[in-house]
């Protein structure tokens, strides 16, 4: 992203939006130390299931197919400060707690509609929290997960080429292209 894109992105923020792309502009916050082995394979598998509930298979492959769980683990390891890493790790447990509370089962033992119900509740919770959150307040773990899921999916090869339209070398510019509902958006460069 260059300066012009940065200016453009401000326009997006002004539109009352921006989840996930936020880090492209502001970056991750500094932290004390990097933990090499923050996540094990079970964590990554769990994250893939959570991400796939947020962005499931539809006409196009979902987040698990795009290995978004692996991406999230890399991002939390490399780009999150320790405090956010702690919130994130604790959050994985809180997803199971919420599942237990609602359906008396762990998240991975739920069926697809139950998973969606649990995460829909958590998303409502994070949206309400974020609305009144002050800059110094801790981040909400589910917002982190959702942001990283969107970022990971829509910048993955599957996300760019299947969910979106990716044109490596457009060759020309047309500023007045007819659009009809259902046409896919262009992937970012």
């Amino acid at each position: 992203m260059n300066r012009r894109d940065a200016i453009g992105r401000v326009a997006l923020i002004m539109g009352g939006t921006l989840i996930g792309a936020e880090f492209l502009l502001s970056g991750c916050k500094p932290k004390a130390a990097t933990l090499e082995n923050l996540f094990d394979n079970d964590h990554v598998a769990f994250l893939n299931e959570v991400a796939d509930t947020i962005l499931p298979d539809t006409k196009t492959p979902g987040a698990k197919a795009a290995k978004v769980g692996d991406f999230i683990a890399v991002m939390v390891r490399d780009c999150y400060e320790t405090a956010d890493q702690d919130i994130f790790l604790k959050g994985l447990g809180q997803i199971d707690e919420a599942s237990n509370k609602k359906f008396s089962k762990k998240f991975l033992d739920l069926d697809a509609s139950q998973r969606t119900a649990v995460l829909t509740d958590l998303d409502k919770e994070q949206q309400a929290y974020t609305k009144t959150k002050k800059p110094k307040d801790p981040n909400h773990y589910f917002r982190m997960i959702k942001e990283l899921t969107l970022l990971g999916y829509f910048t993955s090869e599957i996300g760019c080429k299947q969910a979106l339209r990716y044109v490596e070398v457009p060759g020309h510019y047309d500023g007045n292209l007819p659009y009809k509902k259902g046409d896919k958006a262009w992937a970012l460069s």
Binding site: M1, N2, R4, D5, A6, I7, G8, V10, A11, L12, I13, M14, G15, G16, T17, I19, G20, A21, L25, G27, C28, P30, K31, T34, T53, I54, L55, P56, D57, T58, V74, M75, D78, C79, E81, T120, D123, K124, G152, F154, S156, E157, A163, L164, Y166, V169, P170, G171, H172, Y173, D174, G175, N176, L177, Y179, K180, D183, A185, W186, S189
Partner: protein, 559 residues
């Protein structure tokens, strides 16, 4: 020693240094181009230029380690995963901030010509007259007519796409065909142009991306990956443009890893006889000799070279007799503007990633208007449809949410201001001899800040942006106004200003150091004011003009 003798030495290979090398070699001078950093070969070394976003482990973002390693770069958009190697190693090359100054540097062949924003606008007569009329700083020793044919010259070679908009305050140029506005920008521009009836304009950006092929260069392919280096050579850089031209003459020697530590001054002839170079790889010292020296190390580093060239005759550095060397440091102040939503274009989209936006030239304090500040500002911006990083009110998570995000969202339009910063004597850079860089050289200390004039201007920059967008029918317009920090514009100017009087300026009307007339400074250091236009095109024109003068004077035996 004979192998170390050339006709001309050029210090620095960025935008202006590349131009100096091209012009001097084309006029027959054996020239050595000294670059402090590594070589980056055109195309071959643009290692990330054709990668997809998924090929970057953090998708272009920044890690905690990167933030630790680049404490200055992280302050704004340049710190990122995709072209990290193009930015200076801050541990090797620290500087001292008396006050916060964001200094974003590129130490390699091509300098910041590889990463620059490419927006290219001529200055207007008003800009050259401003200091004299306002009684600020010193009068520019040149006027628009002195630079006009050199603008023609550099635009023709560099390849600037733009429209002949006939805006009174912004001269037309020697353009390639313009890029297109998109449909929303066109309508917003029409509404602004109609409403303000010739006092304000919105035009397509003028950019150093070519829209027709040039020798060895392909026209822009609308990838918008310019700052990774363009495999098509579609934007102007040293690598794509001036370096191949200079090489084609057979007169160029390029020497990377060459830190010029000082200019060698001969007190008998009152001229420079050459430069001393510290080889950044082997730490050996070399001397190079020439009839003329062009200093193009970038504004602050050109000041550093001059200051570090102190002698018993000039204890504060070469060019310091006026007491102005290092002073009057300027930038453009930015980070203020507005944006909002545009309704009614849901059946419209665009194709291609246009590496350009719209421009709104200066309109304040013209035609007799007097605000509570002097000078003015312009805006850059653009319209586009929201991407996947948005919320969908109806959906939270799940398949419908995902499918909704695969479609483009609402149209938004945003503009951000670039404001003129006045030359203040007390805004300065100086040598900090208490701190050394990796090579044991003293570092630069920077002490500069914006003042009342800029602060008052920023109120207009915010409010005018909102007013114009609302006038054009943009909805839910929100102002943003972040802290103004000098350096953040990456348009450093001043420290060795041109002028009419050796008592108050460092350079004369031909960019010659008053105290050593075979030394020319033609990068941003020479600027006596900033105007509000992106400055690189003016550096190119000043450099070509000065190089021509240098060769003429050499022929006359005056140097």
């Amino acid at each position: 020693m004979s192998t170390n003798t050339y006709d001309a030495i050029v210090i620095g290979s960025g935008i202006s240094g590349g131009w100096a090398a091209k012009e001097l070699t084309e006029k027959g001078l054996k020239t050595i181009l000294l670059e402090r950093g590594r070589d980056i070969e055109h195309v071959k070394d643009y290692v990330n230029a054709t990668k997809g976003p998924w090929e970057f482990p953090h998708r272009g973002g920044r890690t905690v380690q990167m933030e630790k390693d680049y404490p200055v770069l992280k302050r704004d958009y340049p710190l990122n995963e995709t072209n990290l190697d193009y930015w200076v190693d801050e541990k090797e090359s620290p500087y001292t901030e008396v006050k916060r100054f964001d200094w974003f540097r590129g130490y390699h062949v091509g300098g910041r010509s590889l990463m620059w924003g490419r927006q290219s606008y001529r200055w207007h007569e008003t800009d050259f007259e401003a200091n004299l009329k306002d009684g600020v700083g010193v009068d520019w020793p040149i006027r628009y007519k002195d630079l006009e044919k050199w603008y023609d010259h550099v635009e023709g070679f560099a390849g600037i796409s733009g429209n002949h908009d006939n805006v009174p305050i912004l001269p037309n140029g020697n353009f390639m065909p313009p890029m297109d506005m998109n449909c929303v920008e066109k309508d917003v521009a029409a509404r602004i142009n109609n409403h303000y009836k010739g006092s304000r304009y919105m035009i397509i950006g003028r950019t150093a991306n070519i829209t027709k092929p040039l020798p060895g260069r392909t026209n822009c392919q609308y990838r918008n990956k310019c700052w990774l280096g363009c495999p098509f050579g579609a934007y102007f850089s040293t690598q794509s443009s001036t370096l191949p031209a200079a090489r084609a003459t057979g007169n160029l020697t390029l020497r990377p890893w060459s830190i010029v530590t000082r200019i060698l001054y001969d007190k008998d002839t009152k001229k420079a006889k050459g430069v001393e170079v510290l080889d950044a790889q082997n730490n050996q010292t070399y001397q190079y000799f020439a009839k003329i020296v062009f200093v193009n190390a970038s504004t602050l580093n050109s000041a550093w070279v001059l200051m570090n060239s102190a002698t018993d005759i000039w204890p504060d550095g070469l060019g310091s007799s006026s007491g102005e060397l290092g002073h009057n440091l300027m930038d453009h102040h930015l980070g203020v503007g507005a944006g909002g939503l545009v309704e009614g274009y849901d059946d419209k989209y665009y194709f291609g990633r246009r590496a350009n936006g719209i421009y709104i030239p200066r309109f304040r304090n013209l035609n007799g208007e007097k605000r509570d500040y002097i000078r003015g500002f312009g805006y850059q911006g653009g319209a586009g449809r929201e991407e996947w990083g948005r919320s969908i009110p109806e959906f939270s998570i799940g398949g419908e949410f995902k499918d909704a995000l695969t479609e483009p969202g609402a149209w938004t339009m945003g503009i951000g201001g670039f404001g003129e910063t006045l030359p203040y004597h007390e805004n300065r850079a100086f040598l900090d001899k208490t701190k050394k860089d990796k090579w044991g050289l003293p570092v630069l200390a920077i002490d500069a800040t914006i003042k009342e004039n800029e602060k008052k201007m920023r109120i207009d920059m915010a409010n005018d942006a909102k007013e114009m967008l609302e006038t054009a029918g943009v909805k839910n317009v929100q102002i943003y106004n972040s802290e103004a920090v000098l350096g953040r514009g990456i348009h450093e100017m001043g420290t060795a200003r041109m002028g009419r009087d050796p008592k108050t300026s460092v350079l004369n009307e031909w960019n010659q150091v008053w105290d050593a007339k075979n030394v020319f400074v033609t990068d941003g250091a020479c600027m006596a004011s900033t105007a509000c236009q992106n400055p690189s095109l003016t550096y190119m024109a000043l450099t070509a003009r000065a190089a021509n003068h240098a060769v003429e004077e050499l022929k006359k035996g005056n140097l």
